[in-house]
Each structure stands twice: as C-alpha cells, then as structure tokens.
C-alpha cells in the first residue's frame, strides 16, 4: 500500500496530525494496534458491549467526539489491529511494517513519503516484594481494562505509586463500584506548591479529583509507599502455589523527608487489587530503529515536530510525556508541517500559533509535574534480593546486584550477565528498575524490531526482498 503520510498511533497526537494533514490534501494512512482508534487516553469500550454512556468513564469527552467525528468525515484510511514492528528508510521514502492482529502471523507494508511517530508512552512500575502476584496490575492497566472491557479485577483496590495518573485511576475505579481502600502517593503534595505558577491551570482539574476522592470516601495517604504485596489463597481451582496465588493485601508505610520508611508506621491494607504506577516513559523503539536522535528518554524534535531523520516526524508522549492536551497540540503542528513539507514548501508557523502556545504552556506544566512526582528516593533500598525484577526472565534483584558485583558497568552488560531484559517485553517493564538498582543509565535499545516478530514473517520479508533485488535496479 502506498500513501503520502503514515501516522503510527491513533491516540490524541496521531489523530490530530492525521486530521490536520488530511484537511490539507495529504493522503493519510493511520496505523494503530488497537481494534478502535483513541489510544490509551481515549480508549473506548469494545463496540460489542454497546455502552450508551461511555463518557461516564472518561474526561475531556468533547475533545474525543470532535476527533472521532472528524475522522469519520475524513478520507483518512485507518488500519486498526495493525502492530507496527519496524519502520525502514528506503530510497524514495519509508516503509512501515505491521503485523495484523490479533493473530499477528502476517505482515503488511505501507510505503509513505512521510511518517509520523505518535507511539505514545507506557507506564513505569518500580519493583517491590510481591509485585508479581496476580491482582497487582499497573495503574494504566486497571484503567485500560475498565475503559475497554468495562471490567474490574475485584472488589477492593489500593491505588499506589506516584504521579498524576493515579488520580483518574482511583476515581475511575471508585465510580465503577470498587471500594478504593487508599490512594497511596509517595510524593509530598507540598512539592507541587513550588511549581504553583506553572500548575495554576491544572488547579481546577486537581480540585475536581480531590472532590471526587472525597465523595467516594477514598483516603489519600501522601508521602506513603507500598512496602510489600501479600499473597494467599488461590486464583483458580487447584492452583495454589507457594506464597499464594492471589493478592490479599499490601503493607504501606509513611516516608520521611529523605525517602526512608518511618518506623512504626507500617500497616496492612487488605485488598484484592493493587493498581500501581510510577509515571510514564515515551515509547521510542521505532524512532530508535530509524536512528532518530533522542533527548534523554524522548525523541528529539524541532519546532515543527521533525526528528533529525528526513521524512520522520514525532508528536505526543514519544517526544516527552505531557498528557493529551500537549499531544493534541503537537499532533496538529506536525500535521500542518507535513502537509507543507510534502508540497515542497516551508510552513508558516504563524498558522499554528495557538497550538504552539498550548504546546509551550503544557510543556512547562509537564516539567513541573515531572519534578514534583519523581520516583520515591531510596526505593531501591526496599527491593529485597529475592524480589523478581525482570518479570519475563524471573531475574531477581539479587542477580542484578551480583552482575554489578562481577563488574558490569552498564545495563547492557547487566543484561548479558543476568538475562534481565532479555524476555518477551525486551526490558520495557524492568528497564527503569535495572537502571535504578545498578545506578547505570539505561542503554538505548539496539533491536531492529519494536515487538516480537514470527520467524515466518521475517523469512517472507527476506524472500520478497530477494525477489525485488532479482528484478534488478528500478
């Protein structure tokens, strides 16, 4: 399939960019892994559930309806259920390779003159004893299951970790009938006050969450952390294993100003669900595969949202986590820039001045939130040697520390010595934890593939490439 622009990711940034470019005559193919557009933020209930009031589980619903209706009225071609595993630069353009889901046995190619990476972000969860027990889920995962499947894992939840995502997750679960025993936030809310200027616009939103937490009777434990998740019983018939098969509760404790546990503050909160998260990270695999320059953990872009690879733009959380409003602004700017550049003209930034204003404001909000909601200091002290860090390969914190003792000086060597990060998720889940435990900066991924790819697909690709080569130069 050939097109002018391939947009990868149908969340706020991808949708805004696809609509802005399409409105200016660009042929757009929008490729997304989910069955329906929306991304994580605007995740919709599965159509089969026929929800008459999906807005009850969402906020910023009007922005979604505008995007949804805009997409329906546009000529943008949507490839849903397409999992992009690689973007290649070839002479004359770019080729997007995607596995068709959910079976993911066949790969399709989209050839485009320009590509927008709107691949979003994913949640960081730092390990603690018991975090692999069934019933412990990421905060975003609990929200995705709720929004998409209209389902919860149990009757009593603790929402814990750090970051702004915990608020909608706690209020969302409470509104869906779950008893939320506590919202456990390790940050000190007083730190937010230091950024009062940048965060002024966020105050009404924050006040709204506070009111909802109060209404649902959710106790907020600030400067607290989960020390341990406890298991017991069985989650399925005949399945009880050692240590129990199912979350039964968590021990929480207060933290002092230096991030240490205040002795004597430990207490047990019985629960069957723990929704836990420690902030978001940009999805950068495709950008890294293309050789785009990163700025820290984010894809580096210029004022037009261009990466340093010709023909490749990026917008949304992949260029820095900052929420839906920022993603919409960046996507809009990228779409307009792409439309102009594909015509061979330089865009007039004056045309997107309002979006640029939103982008500047929201980036300063994001910077303030990031510093206020840093992961709890000294969290690694509480990761016992027998705690699994790499969930895929079952590598413990003790094994990671041993690799360090053997002389590993970077995360790649730690990985080679311990296997941490070698499993299915390719270190997405354990990367930040390994970096924290070893004190090493995470090594950028060098994998050419953004997700596991069946060998048959690679063999087919190789045969197709050979066939093209045999046809001679074109």
């Amino acid at each position: 399939m050939r097109t002018d622009l391939a947009v990868i990711g149908a969340g706020p940034a991808g949708l805004a960019a696809a609509l802005a470019a399409s409105a200016r005559g660009v042929r757009v193919v929008l490729v997304d892994a989910a069955p329906e557009p929306g991304g994580q933020f605007y995740r919709q209930p599965a159509p089969g559930l026929r929800a008459r009031h999906p807005e009850a589980l969402h906020h910023q619903w009007r922005a979604w309806t505008r995007l949804r209706d805009g997409l329906a009225a546009s000529p943008v071609r949507v490839l849903a259920d397409h999992h992009v595993w690689c973007v290649e630069r070839e002479s004359g353009g770019l080729t997007v390779h995607a596995l068709r889901g959910p079976e993911q046995e066949r790969s399709v190619e989209v050839r485009a003159a320009a590509v927008l990476l709107a691949t979003g972000g994913y949640e960081t969860v730092l390990p603690f004893p018991g975090w692999t027990l069934p019933g412990v889920v990421t905060a975003g995962g609990a929200q995705a299951m709720l929004k998409g499947g209209l389902v919860v894992a149990g009757g009593t939840a603790v929402v814990a970790g750090t970051g702004p995502l915990l608020l909608p997750v706690a209020t969302g679960l409470a509104a869906a009938g779950v008893r939320v025993a506590a919202l456990v936030e390790s940050a000190d809310p007083r730190r937010l006050l230091r950024h009062a200027g940048a965060l002024a616009r966020k105050l009404p939103e924050g006040a709204g969450y506070a009111a909802r937490l109060l209404r649902h009777g959710v106790p907020v434990l600030a400067r607290h952390t989960v020390l341990r998740a406890h298991g017991g019983g069985t989650s399925r018939p005949g399945g009880a294993g050692r240590g129990g098969d199912r979350l039964t509760g968590v021990t929480v404790a207060a933290l002092d100003g230096r991030g240490r546990v205040r002795s004597g503050t430990e207490r047990l909160l019985p629960c069957d669900t723990l929704a836990v998260g420690h902030g978001m990270l940009p999805h950068t695999d495709l950008a890294e595969g293309l050789g785009c320059r990163l700025d820290g953990r984010r894809v580096a872009v210029d004022a037009e949202q261009r990466t340093d690879v010709p023909g490749v733009w990026a917008a949304g959380e992949s260029t820095g986590v900052g929420g839906a409003a920022l993603a919409l602004a960046e996507g809009h700017i990228a779409g307009r820039s792409i439309a102009a550049r594909l015509r061979g003209t330089a865009p007039d930034p004056g045309e997107w001045a309002p979006a640029a204003g939103v982008r500047a404001r929201m980036r300063s909000v994001a910077a303030a939130l990031e510093s206020a909601w840093a992961p709890p200091a000294r969290w690694t002290d509480r990761v016992t040697d027998d705690t699994v860090v790499c969930r895929c390969e079952e590598v413990t914190a003790g094994a990671v520390r041993e690799a360090l003792a053997l002389g590993a000086g970077d995360t790649r060597t730690v990985k080679l010595l311990s296997r941490a990060g070698m499993g299915w998720c390719q270190g997405r889940m354990c990367g930040p934890a390994v970096a924290g435990l070893t004190g090493c900066e995470p090594t950028p991924s060098s994998s050419p593939f953004a997700r596991p790819v069946p060998l048959g697909v690679l063999a087919d690709g190789h045969r197709a490439h050979e066939d093209r080569t045999e046809e001679g130069p074109s």
Partner: protein, 99 residues
C-alpha cells in the same frame, strides 16, 4: 454500581467459552483477559522458571505477562485477543509448548 451499569452497557447475548475445561460466560467484545476477570479468575499462566502464577499486568499488550493458550495456540496476549464463542482457553504452563 458496576462498570457495565456505569457505562450504560447493553451488551449482546453472552456466549460460552471454557477455561481449563470449565464453562464460563463471555460478553461480546471483551478480550480473553476481561472475560476471565469477569469470571473472578486473575491468573492463567505459570512461569517457566519458578512455576509462579501470572495474569494481567500492563493490560495494554506491552508486558507479555498475561500469555494464555487459546484454541491450542500458546503465547496469546489475553489483554489483546478478543474472546470468541466456543474458545477453549487453557492455563499456559511454562513455555506453553509442552502439551
């Protein structure tokens, strides 16, 4: 109020799938993970090394913790795969390829 009521869901008729031979009810549109959660089941895999139970973790297809065997095909991400009438869902032991 449960999430279905909260969102005003009027799902089509439920259908049956089996989990380790036990019949359970599934609502159209739900993923295998959502169907299992709705039936009170939170683990459907044991790890290769320690044989520890696992279920949904990230819920969005990134972590691969929720792998399950559906209709004889191991390694399916339960949080992504939609449940279909008659699906035979089995706990995935180890690599899922032993039987």
């Amino acid at each position: 109020m449960n999430p279905l009521e909260r969102a005003g869901a009027r799902p089509g008729p439920a259908f049956e799938v089996t989990f380790d031979g036990r019949p359970i009810e599934a609502l159209p549109g739900r993923t295998v993970a959502a169907v299992l959660w709705a039936a009170g089941i939170t683990s459907w895999r044991t790890t290769r090394g320690e044989g520890r139970p696992r279920g949904v973790f990230c819920g969005i297809g990134v972590c691969f913790d929720c792998l399950v065997t559906v209709n004889g095909r191991p390694g399916q991400r339960a949080c992504l795969v939609p449940a279909r009438p008659g699906d035979v869902i089995r706990t995935e032991e180890g690599t899922g390829r032993a039987h």
